[in-house]
Amino acid sequence: MSTNPFPPGRLWLLAAGYGAWCSALVLIYALHALGCAFAWPTGALRLGLGVTLLVHLAVIGWLWRDCAKFSPGEAFGPTGSFLYWVVVWTLITAFVATVLTLGPTLVLKTCM
């Protein structure tokens, strides 16, 4: 048992990366639907989609950098090390998943 238990309040970090992925997916899907329904100019819609994607990538990247810098072993023992390892890798894979799944928004035709 760690002398300093890993705070349960930080368990949300396990869901942070893919939570951001879900958020990006839903917001881009919604924005795309709105843009096409109201016939927004293609450039504006594409810009909106691209900015939404980049903001989410930035959030995941920031969390990744923040978690990778932290030394959980010193603060929370083996449990902290394990959980932070899992968090960092969920962030990395979520970043890749976001690029692969939502990257097409930057290049494909918008409202066909």
Binding site: M1, S2, P5, F6, P7, P8, L11, L14, A15, Y18, G19, W21, C22, L25, I28, Y29, H32, A33, L34, C36, A37, F38, A39, P78, T79, S81, F82, L83, W85, V86, W89, T90, T93, A94, A97, L100, T101, L102, G103, P104, T105, L108, K109, T110, C111, M112
Partner: protein, 845 residues
């Protein structure tokens, strides 16, 4: 793994402890069995019940194969065929697969995690009875010729009143919703129990991998089931009262059903797969003789799968006219979901490759799993590619794919798990003479049936047709599929015989026949009702324990709680991440209350089915009353402070700590409820932007002062809840605050009811009015439940169950009222915003 310092074996002491614990934990004989709340008893009941429904669904599947074996078959008329294939799918998925995995989780999870029971035994029993009654209503309808007949995903508009005027669809909607609510209850209980009731010392990094799988699955269920529950409620309201959520002629949209259904339906594939993957990750290391490879990577993969599976619901809707850009990212998501799945496959193969695998019956089924699941996964990747999906949409290729996925993700791993854990339940091992041929018949029959279905689908045979002409080139393949299904059925018949023979003639085992490395084998088999005579302290570094040496130590009472006290059913609560003991959890004893509550809940469903709406409302209030009444006996009626629990540790009872299981249960219940609310908001906005016949002819109008007044009342209610907690914590009477909260809630409900009465356009005339009514109805129902919380608080304060130290009740009420105020404010803000949103539609081209 350790217990207190080793002492000489004391068989007498172990026997005495066993007798004392059994007297407290055992379920009584005869009719008293109906009062059981023990997780082993209920888990077993769920599994047996689910297996019966599997046999029924299998029989229905056989009937469809008889019908399709030859062209122009007159075995069934089209109406009967529709009911049979609909029930086959619905029973398999909703009444067999999901309950079976719940049953496994209920039976196994506390044992694997080193606990004596689940957090809410009465809820376990209530959920089981709800499942039994709901499933019986759905399946029994076939006997009266009124079974659901719109396909297992019950698409609108086919399932709407116009095209299904009878009660067939109502039976599905009410019965399945009944079962889903029971599943949701199980899920919340599983989450809380895993997070708070592990063996002391079992930190999250040491938790057996099965615990991670079941935890993530249960969390997925908490979020996945509410959209389907909402969709079913909305469709039933449309059918019963004419509110047009899915009727495109009145501003509804049939595709809304598809979105809500698949928001549940796609994650459900992984909800089915992940617990079985957990079973595989537990069994494969045992048969490989080494620890699982890649524990940490597997945890990452489980989390990734959980999220990715939600984000690709639209891949079931590729053919409905989604814009290409959206198709692209849902297609990409559908393809990459294979990555975390394959990672687990490689981990299992690496475990086998690095170990010394020994063959046995479970390993045969594990081999079957690898073969079938890889094929199902590959056709899944094919279907993720949009042009291919368009070609084979609604053909037998999809039927073949879904059976390979279901067979690989559930059937074969489940049968492996059945043979692996059956000795735990029966205390006997399998009779190999029958089990091996049973496997080969099932394996060959399964592949013959469903492999050729791919070809039938590629040749263009649509799913759900009840017969065909014979010139299409499907005849020989259909006959082969039907022959395969008979071979498979003979295999399952042999399996059932094998199970019955095992019960009677299997070789007796005392414990751990597989030389396993998890805690559920550190007890005699079949298990005692208390699982562990004393709760183990878990300090294993690699997820592996030695049951044969640990079991006698625990039996002698040398772990935690190796004694009895006050006739209490005791187990330990732990810190969520570190596993340090932090509370003594005292569980309720057997009671008939869950059975009666479930019976009356079933009466609510039946009243609704027979359109006796006032009776349904009255019985619904009785159910709420029973919940309030049941709460009166929960917890303890005195303050105790820290109590010794063994090994020199003292902790307070769960009634005197903040992070108690009921608190976390309410948190996760609100997450589920919040998902339902979010789905309702999504539905409102979806109809606004996507449905035809918008804007409505009548402009929306809401009484602003009344709307703002209802929000203010909800906020006052929440303030009353907060005031009551503060008051009691400082040893003052909280009744005045409770009265204020109750008055505010009554005021909010009255205001909302008046608002519903004045909705324009009328809720029956246009979906705008219908969604407005649904949003306001949500607020009223939650305020009403808040009142029930307050009534319970008053009664429990009067009976001495609440004190300045035992303040959990009021904290629960505060949380509920806060949530009600927030969702109420959002709902009413959306209602007030709708006129502006509708006006915006004028800007559409």
């Amino acid at each position: 793994m350790s217990a207190a310092a080793g002492r000489p074996a004391q068989g007498g002491r172990a026997l005495r402890l066993h007798r004392e614990l059994a007297a407290i934990w055992a379920t009584g004989p005869g009719l008293q069995r109906l009062a059981s709340v023990n997780h082993s008893v209920i888990g077993l009941r769920i599994m047996v019940t689910a297996f019966v429904f599997f046999l029924i669904a299998g029989l229905l599947g056989m009937l469809t194969r008889i019908q399709l074996a030859t062209p122009h078959a007159a075995f069934m008329d089209p109406e009967t065929y529709n009911q049979v294939f609909t029930l086959h799918g619905s029973v398999m998925l909703f009444l067999f697969v999901i309950p079976m995995l719940e049953g496994m989780a209920v039976y196994l999870t506390p044992k694997i995690l080193g606990a004596r029971d689940f957090a809410f035994p009465r809820l376990t029993a209530f959920s089981y009875w709800c499942y039994l009654f709901g499933a019986t209503i759905v399946t029994g309808s076939l006997l009266f010729g009124v079974a659901p007949d719109g396909g297992w995903f019950m698409y609108t508009p086919l399932s709407s009143n116009t095209y299904t005027p009878g009660v067939n669809a109502d039976i599905w909607l009410l019965g399945v919703t009944f079962v889903e609510i029971s599943a949701l209850s199980f899920a919340i209980e599983i989450v809380v129990s895993i997070l708070k009731m592990r063996a002391p010392g079992m930190s999250l990094d040491r938790m057996p991998i099965f615990g991670w799988y079941v935890l993530v699955t249960a969390l997925m269920m908490v979020v996945a089931f509410p959209p389907l529950i909402l969709a079913s409620i909305l469709l039933e309201v449309e059918r019963a009262f004419g509110l047009p959520f899915y009727d495109p002629t009145r501003g509804g949209d049939a595709l809304l059903w598809q979105h809500l259904f698949w928001l549940f339906g796609h994650p459900d594939v992984y909800i089915i797969f992940l617990p079985m993957a957990g079973a595989l990750s537990t069994m494969i290391p045992v048969f490989a003789g080494r620890a699982l490879v890649g524990y940490r990577a597997i945890v990452v993969a489980i989390i990734a799968l959980a999220f990715l599976s939600f984000g690709i619901w639209v891949h079931h809707m590729f053919a409905v006219g989604i814009p290409h850009l959206a198709l692209a990212f849902f297609s990409a998501g559908s393809a990459i979901v294979a990555v975390p799945t394959v990672l687990q496959m490689f981990a299992w193969l690496a475990t086998l490759a690095q170990g010394r695998p020994r063959w046995s019956v479970p390993m045969l089924y594990i081999f079957g799993f690898f073969f079938v699941f890889v094929l199902g996964g590959l056709t899944g990747v094919m279907l993720a590619i949009v042009p291919f999906d368009w070609q084979v949409h609604d053909t037998y290729f999809v039927v073949a794919h879904l059976h390979y996925v279901a067979g690989g993700a559930f059937a074969f791993p489940f049968l492996a798990a059945l043979y692996y854990w059956l000795p735990h339940i029966t205390g006997r091992t399998a009779v190999q003479r029958f089990s091996v041929p049973a496997f080969w018949l099932i394996f060959i029959g399964f592949n013959l049936t469903f492999l050729v279905m791919h070809l039938i689908g590629l040749l263009g045979m649509p799913r759900r047709i009840f017969t065909y002409a014979g010139y299409e080139g499907w005849t020989a393949l259909n006959l082969a599929a039907s022959i395969g299904s008979f071979i498979m059925t003979i295999g399952f018949g042999l399996l059932v015989i094998d199970l019955l023979v095992q019960l009677r003639y299997g070789r007796r085992v005392r414990r751990d026949p597989w030389k396993a490395a998890t805690l559920e084998w550190a007890m005699p088999v079949p298990p005692a009702p208390y699982n562990f005579a004393s709760v183990p302290h878990f300090d294993s570094v690699d997820d592996r324990v030695a049951p044969s040496t640990l079991a006698p130590v625990l039996a002698r009472g040398e772990g935690y709680l190796g004694f009895t006290r006050n006739g209490w059913q005791e187990t330990l609560g732990v810190h969520m991440t570190s596993g340090a003991p932090d509370q003594l959890i005292v569980l309720p004893r057997p009671t008939y209350l869950p059975l009666w509550t479930a019976l009356i809940t079933a009466a609510v469903v039946l009243s609704f089915l027979f359109k006796l709406y006032l009776l349904a409302l009255g019985l619904g209030l009785v159910v709420v009353g029973l919940f309030v009444w049941g709460a009166q006996s929960a917890g303890l009626s005195s303050d105790y402070g820290p109590l010794p629990v063994g090994r020199g540790v003292s902790v307070p009872p769960h009634t005197e700590v903040a992070g108690t299981p009921p608190w976390w249960a309410l948190v996760f219940a609100l997450i589920a409820d919040g998902t339902l609310f979010t789905s309702l908001v999504f539905g409102t906005l979806y109809l606004w932007i996507a449905a035809p016949h918008w804007p409505p002819a009548v402009s929306p109008d809401t009484h602003l002062a009344l709307a703002l007044g209802s929000v203010l009342a909800l906020v006052i209610g929440a303030a009353g809840g907060r005031g009551s907690v503060r008051s009691l914590a400082s040893d003052r009477a909280p009744q005045a605050w409770i009265a204020l909260a109750a008055l505010a809630l009554v005021g909010a409900m009255a205001a909302v009811v008046v608002l519903i009465g004045g909705i324009a356009p009328h809720p029956r005339e246009h979906a705008l009015g219908a969604t407005t009514a649904a949003l306001l109805g949500f607020v009223a129902v939650h305020a009403g439940i808040g009142l029930a919380f307050l009534v319970s608080n008053v009664l429990r304060i009067a009976s001495g169950r609440v004190s300045p130290k035992r303040i959990v009740d009021l904290r629960l009420t505060r949380l509920w009222l806060d949530y009600t105020a927030v969702t109420g404010a959002v709902a009413i803000t959306l209602v007030l915003t709708l006129p502006a949103l509708v006006a915006m539609l004028g800007a559409r081209p």
